[in-house]
Structures are given as structure tokens and as C-alpha cells.
């Protein structure tokens, strides 16, 4: 566990050693603002909630989270540091977990920096802060799930661009599987059970459940299981392919 903390610290400070952290945070905040106020009609809705803010998170993460996860292992491979890293006296699980937690924590920092939205809505009216807190937690869990997928896919290649593209594609599939558009499309011919299975397997479905203000244990279990499963796959892939 101590090693996980050491790796976590190195990785997290690594984000801030390059412009990546600042570029990411600025783009994230600007996009979140634009989507919320202009596309989401935050003011016109006349409701004191952050629904229009959170509803765009799945789409925002689709593009931005792969940019965070793409470097996790691909960069280690490219620069050859993976050989240095994995010949230190650490367990593979500590390496995988430390890296993931650092990226997740960074996503959490970016998310926390959206607090002006929360202040704004509290100044303008009296929102249900419980729902907002649940939505923040849901959003962070969703970011973690996409990060875990991205970390695993990043372990497959030494090319960060490839890691980005396949992670974005995978996240797109995971997200839209449950979106109303896709569900409408298949409703005509697919059996009801399949539709429900697809919908409940999607990030979108679980995230929207949470943003409605219901922090159901099942949704949390869903996200945590996605994270755990992909991190296990990540460790397995690294173990099998670390020297390739």
C-alpha cells in the first residue's frame, strides 16, 4: 500500500510537471461552461439545479478522459521507463492501482474546480444540494470507469494517439448504448430483455439514474465493478505484454 501511495504521488505530480494538467483543466472548465450555459439553456430553464451541467458530462468525458488515460502505460512503453518501473521492488497491482488512482484523483480535481457552477446555482435559487452532491459523485465514478477502460487500452500500445482513439471509441460505445437515441433505434426489432440489458450495461444509464438524485447502491456497484474489472485486465495485459 505504501508503494501505491508513492507511485500515486509521482504520477499525480507528473500531470502538473507538464502543461497537460493546466490545458486539461482549462479546456474542461470552458467546455463545461459553454455546454451548460449555451447548449443546456441553464438560465432559460429557470430551474435552480445543475441538470443542464451534469447532462453533458458523459459527452465531455468521451473526449477528455481518453486524453488523460492515453499516456498512463503507452508513455511508459514509448520511453522505455516501463522497464525501469517494473524492475523496482513493487507489485504489479501497486503499479496499476497507483497510476489509476492518480489519474482518477486528477479528474476529481478538475471536477471539483467546477464549484463556481454550484455557487452560481445556490446564489440564484435554492437547489437540492443533495442531488448535486450525488451527481458529482456519479460524475466522478463515471470518469473513473472510463479511466479504467482507458488505462487498460493504453497498456496495449506504445502509441498514445492509438490509445486515445480506441479509448474514445470504447467510451462512446459504453455511453451511447444506453442513450435514448440508440434505445429508440433498436426498440423496433430487438427483444425487450436485450434492450434492458444493453441499457443497464451503459455508463449513461447509471449516470442519469444518479443525477436524478437517487444514489442507488446498484449504480455504485456497477461503476466500481467496471473499474475493478478493467484494472484487473490492465494488470494482466501488462504482465503478459510488458516487454513487447
Amino acid at each position: 500500500m505504501r508503494n501505491t501511495a508513492i507511485i500515486f504521488r509521482r504520477e499525480l505530480s507528473g500531470y502538473f510537471a507538464t502543461p497537460l494538467a493546466y490545458v486539461f483543466i482549462v479546456i474542461f472548465l470552458v467546455l463545461a461552461g459553454v455546454l451548460t450555459f449555451f447548449v443546456g439553456n441553464f438560465f432559460e430553464r429557470g430551474q435552480a439545479d445543475l441538470q443542464s451541467f451534469f447532462s453533458f458530462h458523459p459527452w465531455l468525458y468521451l473526449v477528455l478522459i481518453p486524453a488523460l488515460s492515453m499516456r498512463l502505460w503507452a508513455e511508459e512503453r514509448r520511453s522505455g521507463t516501463i522497464e525501469l518501473f517494473l524492475t523496482l521492488p513493487i507489485r504489479l497491482s501497486e503499479a496499476v492501482l497507483g497510476k489509476f488512482l492518480a489519474a482518477w484523483c486528477f479528474a476529481g480535481i478538475a471536477l471539483a474546480l467546477t464549484f463556481p457552477f454550484w455557487i452560481t446555482v445556490n446564489v440564484l435559487g435554492e437547489p437540492d444540494n443533495g442531488v448535486i452532491l450525488a451527481s458529482y459523485i456519479g460524475s466522478w465514478l463515471m470518469a473513473g470507469a472510463i479511466l479504467a477502460v482507458g488505462a487498460t487500452l493504453s497498456a496495449l500500445t506504445k502509441n498514445q494517439v492509438i490509445a486515445f482513439v480506441i479509448t474514445a471509441a470504447a467510451a462512446f460505445v459504453l455511453t451511447v448504448a444506453g442513450s435514448p437515441v440508440v434505445l429508440e433505434l433498436v426498440r423496433g426489432w430487438a427483444p425487450e430483455g436485450l434492450i434492458r440489458a444493453v441499457a443497464t450495461a451503459s455508463l449513461f444509464h447509471h449516470f442519469t439514474t444518479i443525477t436524478r438524485g437517487v444514489l442507488d447502491l446498484r449504480d455504485i456497484v456497477y461503476f466500481v465493478s467496471i473499474i475493478a474489472a478493467f484494472l484487473a485486465a490492465n494488470a494482466l495485459l501488462i504482465d503478459l505484454k510488458k516487454a513487447d
Partner: protein, 323 residues
């Protein structure tokens, strides 16, 4: 301290390492020699626990790298090929990270860092990101990382690559000072380096060990071992060659270089020492011989003879002049 047991590595149909075994006791610096692609780096990666062997294992201070990888890695300092390090990190942060992972804390950590910074002379670049360093500094940071925890077993893959001659010399003296209480394996392309720092050399090609011995022993396998090299005046060249060839201990006389008639190599019969005979001869010749010495044999010749089987007859058997 380091026990390599029949390591084998296959990459698909390619056999990269084919049954390599050796042991390195404390106090030995083992030079790992071989042409590119011979399996040197793959062997070192297996010892360091990065590449899983197809068969065989390595035991570091009693810890099997497959069964107790963490314990084995704790006793090992490893410099991977190319000395990789996190390019965005400052040198001090990078060494701090390695120290933390190596479990160094408090005063112990401080003294270990101070010792290594002094030893590797990297004090002036501590705050620089590693990617901005010269190749020489990057290499030294890589070696510093491997030595930080003062490991009993050191595996250094090309520790002097990219260093200038002064830095090479420095690195070799560092290896020398560490030699008494460590088992050290270095790989290198530089044969002079093996002669300068190694107490033992292993030549590997196509994944197999082809020679194993002290560098001087290996050099003695050279056809030039015990040959005498004479520089003569151009005027006396033909006569001296003829007279040399008639000496009882001499097998053949050759030009060192076809374009230069004044440098002669005198091969003794059966590689027996002929220094006394040649000394006597040189005294008789007077000013006709301007310089001479006895060759120890060149590791380079042995290396080429061993690692290029097709060229072996030509390399090992010098074309004899009329005796």
C-alpha cells in the same frame, strides 16, 4: 551472489537466449560481450525480472527471481539498456521517487542521495528535467538510480554508452571501487572496457555462451598472442624478413598491414614465448629495427573469431608466409 541457471528465452520461433548459465561471486566484475542481437540484453532483462524466461531462472542472493521477485529485486540494482528515466521529472525528484520505492527514509535516504549525487557528479543538474540533460548526464542518472540502495548485485546494461572518454574513465573507476563487495555484471560493445574493468568476460552469440574466462585468458586465444611486432626501416625490410623467418622459434613473418612494409608480425611456433630470441635478434640487427614489442593478443580478434563462425578460418589462421 548471482546464480544464472540455464536461462532460455524464445520469442515465437526465434531463440533469443539458449541455455545460459553462470554464477557471479562477490568481488567479480563480469563483462557480458556479444554482437548486437546476441541475447545480452534479453538475458539481463530476465535477471532483472522484466522478461519472463521460457525456461530456467536467476537467483539473486538466494532469492529466485520467479518465486520471490520482490526480494530478488530488492537486492538488485539494474540499469536498463538506454538508461530510461522519466523525461519530465527533475533529477532530484526522480531519485527521490526511486529512494522512496527502495524504502529509504529519513537520515538513511538523505545520506544515500548525498552519496550517489557525489559519486555520479550530478549535483549541478538536480533541478533540471531529465529530458534536458546531455546523454552523458542521463546515463549517470540511470546508474545513480541503480546504485542508490547500495545493492549487492548490480546489472548494468551498457553503463558507459554515450559518455565521453573522461566520463568513461570515471565510470570505470567507480565500478572498480565498488568491485570488492558486490557482484557486478556489465554489458558492453567496447572490448577495451572489458580489459579495463572486468575480472571475467563472457562472450555470447546467438543466445549461447561461447567463451568464459579472464580477459587476459581470452586474449591469449588470439593468434597474435605472444607474436612479436617489429618496426623496421624500409631499406632493411626484405633482409630482416628473410632472416627472421630462418630463426628456429619462428613459424611465420607477416606484414601487419599490406600497404606498410615496415611493420612486421612474427608468429612463434605453437605460440611459445619468443621474446628472448627476438631480443637477441634485434640486438644483432642494430639500427635496422626501430621498435619492437610482444603482443598480448587482442580480445577483438578472439571476439570476431568466436562470434563470426563463417569468417573463422581466415581470422584464426593467419595466412602464413613462406617459412
Amino acid at each position: 551472489m548471482l546464480d544464472i541457471r540455464n536461462l532460455v528465452k524464445h520469442f515465437g520461433p526465434l531463440v533469443a537466449v539458449d541455455g545460459v548459465s553462470f554464477t557471479v561471486p562477490r568481488g567479480e566484475v563480469l563483462g557480458f560481450l556479444g554482437p548486437n542481437g546476441a541475447g545480452k540484453s534479453t538475458t539481463m532483462k530476465m535477471i532483472a525480472g522484466f522478461v519472463a524466461p521460457t525456461a530456467g531462472t536467476a537467483v539473486v542472493c538466494g532469492n529466485d527471481i520467479l518465486e520471490q521477485p520482490l526480494a530478488a529485486k530488492r537486492h538488485l540494482g539494474y540499469l536498463p539498456e538506454g538508461a530510461p528515466a522519466y523525461p519530465d521529472m527533475a533529477v532530484a525528484d526522480f531519485l527521490g521517487f526511486v529512494a522512496a520505492i527502495r524504502g529509504l527514509r529519513g537520515a538513511e535516504r538523505k545520506s544515500a542521495l548525498a552519496r550517489i549525487i557525489e559519486m555520479m557528479r550530478i549535483g549541478e543538474v538536480l533541478d533540471q528535467p531529465i529530458e534536458t540533460l546531455s546523454k552523458g548526464f542521463q546515463r549517470r542518472v540511470g546508474v545513480a538510480q541503480a546504485l542508490l540502495h547500495d545493492p549487492p548485485v548490480l546489472i548494468l546494461d551498457e553503463p558507459t554508452d554515450g559518455l565521453d572518454p573522461n566520463q568513461k574513465h570515471e565510470m570505470r573507476s567507480i565500478i572498480h571501487t565498488m568491485q570488492p563487495d558486490k557482484a557486478i555484471v556489465i554489458s558492453t560493445h567496447l572490448l577495451e572496457e572489458v580489459e579495463a574493468v572486468c575480472s571475467r568476460a563472457i562472450i555470447i552469440a546467438r543466445g549461447r555462451i561461447l567463451a568464459d574466462g579472464a580477459p587476459s585468458e581470452l586474449a591469449a586465444r588470439s593468434p597474435r598472442h605472444n607474436a612479436a611486432r617489429l618496426t623496421v626501416t624500409a631499406a632493411a625490410e626484405a633482409r630482416i624478413r628473410a632472416e627472421l623467418a630462418r630463426l628456429p622459434g619462428v613459424a611465420s613473418v607477416e606484414k601487419v598491414d599490406a600497404s606498410d612494409a615496415t611493420a612486421l608480425l612474427v608468429y612463434p611456433r605453437d605460440q611459445r614465448p619468443i621474446a628472448a630470441e627476438i631480443a637477441e635478434f634485434v640486438r644483432e640487427q642494430g639500427p635496422g629495427v626501430t621498435e619492437w614489442h610482444v603482443e598480448q593478443g587482442r580480445l577483438e580478434d578472439v571476439f570476431r573469431a568466436i562470434t563470426t563462425p563463417a569468417a573463422e578460418p581466415a581470422e584464426a589462421e593467419p595466412v602464413r608466409a613462406a617459412a
